[in-house]
Symmetry: C2
């Protein structure tokens, strides 16, 4: 029984990971929290190359986490935005956001600063 409870929690963690795992999915979702964004802008803001971004967005769309809207402009533009269902992930994103901030503070001993590099760079410089 103890075994089963343990199985269950690690199964559900793996289920979540099967949807949002990888370097980019949660980043994309967290950016879209600020509102809809077009493909290229999303690519620029996140630094994700078009090929990867396209793939990630398709997967997020398949999992009903983002919506792709083609705008009747000239030339055509495409907007990506969050679905209602994606709101159920807010707890996860918020928790990771908060933890990331605290963890960086812990490592740097000061408030997070956009200009500072990644944590791995920081850790390696120690």
């Amino acid at each position: 029984m103890e075994e089963r409870k343990c199985m269950r929690i690690h199964l559900s963690i793996m289920d979540t990971l099967s949807v949002v795992n990888g370097k980019w999915k949660l980043v994309i979702l967290s950016v879209l929290l600020n509102g809809k964004m077009r493909f290229r802008e999303l690519s620029r803001v996140t630094g994700i190359s078009p090929r990867i971004l396209s793939k990630e967005l398709q997967e997020l769309e398949m999992n009903e986490l983002v919506i792709r809207t083609v705008c009747d402009t000239k030339p055509v533009t495409v907007e990506y935005s969050l679905t209602e269902y994606s709101k159920t992930l807010d707890e996860v994103i918020d928790a990771m956001n908060r933890w990331g901030i605290k963890h960086r503070e812990r490592l740097t001993g000061r408030k997070p600063n956009v200009k500072t590099g990644t944590l791995t760079q920081l850790a390696e410089s120690n």
Copy 2:
């Protein structure tokens, strides 16, 4: 300014991912939530091969999330357990655990069952 806020959230998400990303780290932590466990048992329960498990545990140890304790038995055994600091990740783990359960219910329309395979298997069978 809007841009900076957006940068900040996705920076902190990436910071968190830099520590717990990958297929296994959160799974390992979630298993250790049930208490300390020895190397081999951890390998058996999670299904992680020794080489990977060893590497993951070392990384978790470097980030002060697990403690490795050598026990003076014959032959020597080694116990892994969570650190105090790892408790700060509880929110993240809980959120992912809850989301995984809900998401599986949504896809299967029934209570989660350990006997059922992974969600990707489920999704592909549709």
